[in-house]
């Protein structure tokens, strides 16, 4: 009996190990150190799993041992990281802002592109090109069962909550609980955070009030802090769809007990087609996701520039062959001619 149990434990451990490796293939840091000529990125949490999938699928199409391949480092994990052969060791960039900073303070010997879930900002160098490839949207999530949050909040409600002008649910609607609202925001470098604060401010970023707690990892509803009847937190709609409908979550990167909610009466998810609702995507809460590159390298005719455009360009792999991956992670592909567009601040 004891031997059988031991065998079962061994099998279970082996299965767990294999599953970890299998999911790690698509959803983790590079399995081995990328070569110096490879195209390596850091940054956004929201798009990291999609970029890992791109990496797997694009690299499968690359022939030869010296041709540049695509690799992407997750937003979280051990730090510092050495991104590729010959690179400078850097603190692991967590989020779009940190990724863009890493792009700008390093050379292509260390970082070739930054994943970004926000568009260009006035503070970004004009030498950065934001290469668009998919659409996402941002909404808010709250505890699905037993929570006090309503199904819908308006932009004005969200602004009031995040500026602490409103601190109790029944100030929004007298029929709601009198409990204190616990607004949460992702960490400061998060593109989802900056986009959300700008959207609820009607285009001008809201400064969070003292009642707001900052620091949760974005799009991870599994965080025990979020298992609370009174929290609400911004959430990538695409990431949520990938987690809930397409099994793209793993480990802590799952929706947990949270469910995503409506803004201004518009539901963010088309639950029939399992996509971002088109009416929601066309609001101020719709956004584009990008890979950010250095302009001089983007237009260069050398091997490096050619490799960047072969992956991210209008006729590159993502725009021509990445649509299935984009949809399976909950994002909306851009129209074929718009994909690969370069946006400047």
């Amino acid at each position: 009996m004891r031997k059988t149990a031991a065998k079962l434990l061994t099998v279970a451990a082996l299965a767990t190990s294999l599953a970890t490796v299998a999911s790690g293939t698509a959803l983790a840091d590079p399995a081995s150190l990328p070569a110096a000529q490879d195209i390596v990125g850091v940054g956004s949490d929201t798009t990291q799993a999609l970029l890992n999938q791109f990496s797997t699928d694009y690299n499968a199409t690359v022939a030869g041992t010296t041709a540049p391949r695509l690799y992407s480092w997750d937003a979280t994990g051990t730090s510092p990281i050495t991104t590729k052969t010959g690179a400078t060791s850097i603190a692991r960039p967590n989020g779009s802002g940190a990724g863009i900073t890493a792009l700008n303070i390093n050379t292509s010997a260390t970082v070739d592109f930054a994943r970004s879930s926000r568009g260009p900002a006035a503070t970004d160098p004009t030498t950065d090109d934001f290469i668009a490839y998919a659409k996402d949207a941002v909404s808010w999530a709250a505890l699905g069962t037993g929570g006090h949050a309503p199904a819908n909040l308006t932009t004005a409600n969200l602004k009031d909550i995040y500026t602490c002008a409103v601190t109790k649910w029944n100030q929004i609607d007298p029929s709601l609980s009198s409990a204190t609202i616990k607004p949460q925001l992702p960490q400061a470098s998060s593109g989802t955070r900056s986009f959300f604060l700008q959207a609820i401010g009607g285009g001008t970023a809201v400064t969070p009030g003292a009642c707001v707690t900052t620091g949760v990892q974005e799009n991870q509803g599994s965080d025990p802090v979020l298992n609370d009847a009174d929290i609400l937190v911004p959430y990538s709609v695409a990431h949520y769809i990938g987690q809930v409908y397409f099994g793209k979550g793993s480990g802590s990167d799952v929706q947990g007990p949270l469910t995503i909610r409506s803004v201004n009466g518009i539901a963010p998810v088309d639950t029939v087609n399992k996509v971002i609702s088109s009416s929601y995507a066309a609001t101020a809460y719709g956004r584009v996701v990008y890979n950010v590159v250095r302009h001089a390298e983007w237009i260069a005719t050398d091997t490096h520039g050619t490799a960047l455009r072969a992956i991210f360009g209008p006729t590159g792999w993502i725009c021509k062959s990445g649509s299935a991956d984009i949809k399976s992670y909950g994002f909306l592909p851009l129209p074929s001619f718009a994909c690969g567009s370069a946006t400047h601040s």
């Binding site: 995507a281 066309a282 719709g286 001619f337």
Partner: protein, 196 residues
């Protein structure tokens, strides 16, 4: 033969007058119109190949053609309305004027009005005179560069290409097999400032 040419000229003139009248009415309806322009720099190769096939493409007022020895032939379509967020890839930019396509070899022609850049699908649509359903005519393609200066949004596209639906429609109406999906007619520079 001379009678046919006279008929063609008369038909063409009638079409131009009709379209001019329609676009004028549309412009009068806009209370606080958005501003800007869409400038198409025509591809000389496309124009030459079209001319060899007897096909003429005529911009209709208030679209304005111009020639410069450096940039070549350009056509400017004024922005007349719309609401768009080009960097976020949604909305519409309405353009004034129209486009007349004439096949001199057989006298067939088609005129488009209500030009509209539908940002969501990244297509320039237009409504054929006598119809109500827009046809996807052109696609901003190649290297698209998007920017924003203050409240003005900009788009430059290194290639403006014939849409698959547009090629099919034009060939059917003109009785040609000239138009193809992806055929470059030039490049596009769009500026758009949304009205209030």
């Amino acid at each position: 033969m001379a009678r046919s040419r006279a008929r063609l000229a008369a038909a063409g003139a009638a079409v131009v007058l009709t379209v001019t009248g329609l676009s004028g009415a549309a412009a009068a309806d806009a209370a606080t119109p958005s501003t800007g322009s869409a400038v198409i720099t025509n591809d000389a190769t496309f124009l030459a190949q079209a001319a060899l096939k007897g096909i003429l493409v005529v911009p209709l007022q208030p679209a304005a053609p111009a020639y410069d020895s450096t940039t070549g032939l350009t056509t400017t379509f004024p922005v007349t309305g719309g609401a768009a967020n080009i960097p976020q890839f949604y909305g519409d930019v309405n353009l004034g004027g129209g486009l007349l396509f004439v096949n001199l070899a057989n006298g067939k022609s088609v005129t488009f009005k209500q030009l509209d850049f539908h940002v969501d699908t990244w297509q320039i649509n237009a409504v054929p005179v006598g119809g109500t359903t827009p046809v996807a005519l052109l696609d901003p393609a190649g290297d698209n560069v998007i920017g924003r200066t203050g409240t003005t949004q900009n788009l430059s596209a290194s290639s403006l290409q014939v849409d698959a639906a547009g090629a099919q429609y034009l060939d059917a109406k003109l009785g040609t097999s000239f138009f193809t999906e992806g055929q470059s007619v030039g490049s596009l520079a769009l500026t758009f400032t949304q009205g209030s």
